[in-house]
Symmetry: C2
Subunit: 191 residues, 2 copies
């Protein structure tokens, strides 16, 4: 973009990044009801600047969630390469942890919702599908468990353990491994 040359454009972009970084922190703590004033303050900017970048609370939250989902998608691709059949369980735990920490996202991803989360669901479902296919090929995912089941479990747990990402991760690990003791130690080709 030729517009990148002008200092105003660089300022604009830098301010936007600072606002989004501040928003991610405040949303992680306070969920969708995060104070816009606090976000602006934490970014070292005024409320007017925030409102020039994001016309409404929903605009800002959508952007924050979108960035979070993009990170989760990138992380899923990385895990699918690096962890192979173990990637699915690791990723589901990270997804659940993130969703529990950002309360608005958990609710926006509930099946009845038609809001902010809809586009995000597609991106998450795609990467979850790739991870599930890798796990299934290594006989680490039952054929009757669908990607929708996995995302629904992760989201239900995140809603239940809202604001407690450690509990969310713990419950997700239980759901992935089941409540019974392992029958025998699992032998993996990869340590």
């Amino acid at each position: 973009m030729t517009s990148q040359r002008t200092p105003q454009r660089a300022d604009w972009r830098r301010n936007r990044e600072r606002l989004l970084a501040a928003a991610a922190e405040v949303v992680a703590r306070d969920g969708a009801s995060a104070s816009l004033e606090e976000i602006a303050r934490r970014a070292g900017l005024g409320s007017a600047t925030l409102h020039r970048h994001f016309r409404s609370r929903e605009d800002l939250l959508t952007e924050v969630f979108h960035e979070g989902v993009e990170r989760l998608v990138a992380r899923g691709r990385e895990l699918n390469e690096a962890e192979a059949s173990k990637g699915l369980a690791i990723w589901l735990e990270e997804l659940t942890r993130y969703t529990a920490a950002t309360r608005g996202l958990a609710f926006s991803l509930r099946p009845t919702s038609t809001g902010t989360g809809s586009g995000c669901i597609g991106m998450l479902r795609d990467v979850a599908g790739d991870l599930a296919a890798t796990a299934a090929a290594a006989d680490r995912l039952r054929p009757d468990v669908t990607v929708e089941d996995l995302l629904a479990l992760a989201n239900g747990i995140a809603i239940q353990a809202e604001d407690d990402p450690d509990l969310a991760a713990r419950l997700l690990r239980i759901a992935v491994t089941g409540i019974e003791p392992s029958r025998e130690p699992r032998r993996d080709s990869r340590a």
Copy 2:
């Protein structure tokens, strides 16, 4: 006339039972926002009669939930006798199914809530504890999985699969057995 006292008592009790039965059906369909007018109509009684029995929506819902929880508690005791170590999984599925069908209950049982569900949680936790102890004694429950974990999983799944008890039961079964194929067929002393 003192001779009418007994029939009036009987009427009062019968009407109350009809109202509670109707309320259970409507709440199962519409959750905590169930229409009081519809409940009265379904019971074949007037709204005024409903309001004489239950002073507020919350009174009625509390009673409906209380009855549902009492049934679940009785069922848990029965399963603990009849199904022994398999009782826990069966009961958790029934709990999840019931909670998904009565939306208000799912929310009232969330950890942050201090409302209607608080007393119910204690009753459910006790019977869940008995079932868990039986399962643990038969090596069908990992020692690091607590009763709170089990109730949290059941409730999170019920919230996620609100209004879809079949999906809720399916997700609960996945969480109980884990997402991987069984390592070997499970041998039970009981068929």
